[in-house]
Symmetry: C2
Subunit: 252 residues, 2 copies
């Protein structure tokens, strides 16, 4: 269980406990098992209740006593949770955040790359969804500045759909064929990460052509595109993530 002792204490002393499981996914999490550990009765909230109804059900419970909303990862990284805090404050309801492990720092740490060399991060959407910015452009822009890029692969938790690493890479290759700037080609170095933050993550560094057919196991997935590599970062990719030895030649 990734929840902290402090988080568990808040659950045990709450009047009402809610859980939101659609902004992200927790591999191996069992609501029933967590109810046994915490002794709490937990009510799952739907996207509609949080987004269209502005979390009314939670705010009403919070008027009567302590209400806890459990979320996957670090709260406040999803805009939905920030909106709920704003709404609470406007109604005069106090709130506090118990932080948790986030896919952001987990994936960066598992990649072995230095966190202060990451530029803007981006989500790779499902092919049928459009976004205002293309992940390919973000990777290209970071690379020009020598920076790494963390890409989260989109999930639709309610439909149990997770964009796979192969699909994510194919989408970037298609974008590269249009942009023609070579930011993501078959011979680009990349790091695929599955289940970052869980007990059994898979991390594999290699060229895009090799990652396309690598079996990463279950979701969710992330991709990291390295910018300029420090020699210690190259060493980490080789030793910890199975990157090709020739990487030592390009690092500084």
């Amino acid at each position: 269980m990734g929840i902290s002792l402090r988080g568990l204490e808040e659950v045990k002393t709450a009047g009402t406990v809610f859980i939101e499981l659609y902004t992200s996914v927790l591999p191996g999490f069992s609501k029933r098992r967590f109810e046994q550990i915490s002794g709490a009765d937990i009510r799952a909230v739907a996207r509609r209740e949080l987004e269209e109804e502005s979390g009314k059900i939670i705010l009403e419970a919070a008027r009567k006593g302590k209400a806890v909303l459990l979320v996957p990862g670090d709260p406040m990284i999803a805009t939905t949770h920030i909106a709920l805090r704003i709404e609470a404050k406007k109604r005069g309801i106090g709130s506090r955040v118990v932080h948790g492990a986030s896919v952001l720092s987990a994936a960066i740490g598992l990649s072995g790359l230095h966190n202060y060399k990451f530029g803007k991060s981006v989500t790779i959407p499902f092919p049928e969804d459009t976004t205002s910015e293309t992940p390919h452009a973000v990777i290209a822009q970071n690379k020009r500045a020598g920076l790494h890029t963390l890409c989260l692969l989109d999930i639709k938790a309610e439909e149990r759909r997770y964009l796979g690493i192969r699909e994510g890479l194919e989408s970037l290759l298609r974008a590269d064929a249009k942009a023609k700037d070579g930011a993501v080609t078959a011979s680009t170095l990349s790091v695929g990460i599955a289940r970052a933050g869980s007990e059994s993550p898979t991390v594999k560094a290699g060229f895009v052509r090799d990652l396309l057919s690598f079996d990463f196991g279950g979701p969710p997935y992330s991709l990291v595109f390295p910018g300029r590599l420090h020699f210690m970062e190259a060493e980490a990719l080789i030793v910890l993530a199975g990157a090709p030895e020739e990487l030592r030649m390009v690092a500084k």
Copy 2:
């Protein structure tokens, strides 16, 4: 306690437990209290043992049984911890990471700003230390791209020295006087955050001239410099962090 249930389980089933408390600081953490909770005898490791001696003491314990190294925040964000994992792998010793809450996602979440709009992050050093890149230049570069910047204020945990928000801002103002690009002036919007990730963080958004004299309480500290603001981000800064109402006018 910010440790996860899974982390606690690893401590309870370990043969030897070490703790490293110099790469970061945990406000309110008591080693003795944690020893009572976990039933483990915990040995603090010094910077020298991890860095000059490559963690030999931990790796030798890991040859005999399960060894756990507790670190503040999310492990693998500090290069020291990555180096230890590489060293273990080279000696044929398996390792796994139990993730924790990181100041990176905690500070971003507390600021109420959208995580995917953050560019490269940077550490503001003590005035007597020199760094290869200037934090001011990072902020200026991110701003030109419309991106937010997370600045961690340096700590020297062994000497109990923490760069304060006032000192950090003054250092940026001096850099701005040289760079003359106006990236950080007295009327620049900024968010000061103290004790991100702890039970009692302080978050205050305002103009640099106001933050200079604001009392943030105990360390450690971070600063966020917003780039272009979405109207929901402006709303979060006003409602959750006490930013001036006029911010609504500049957001989109």
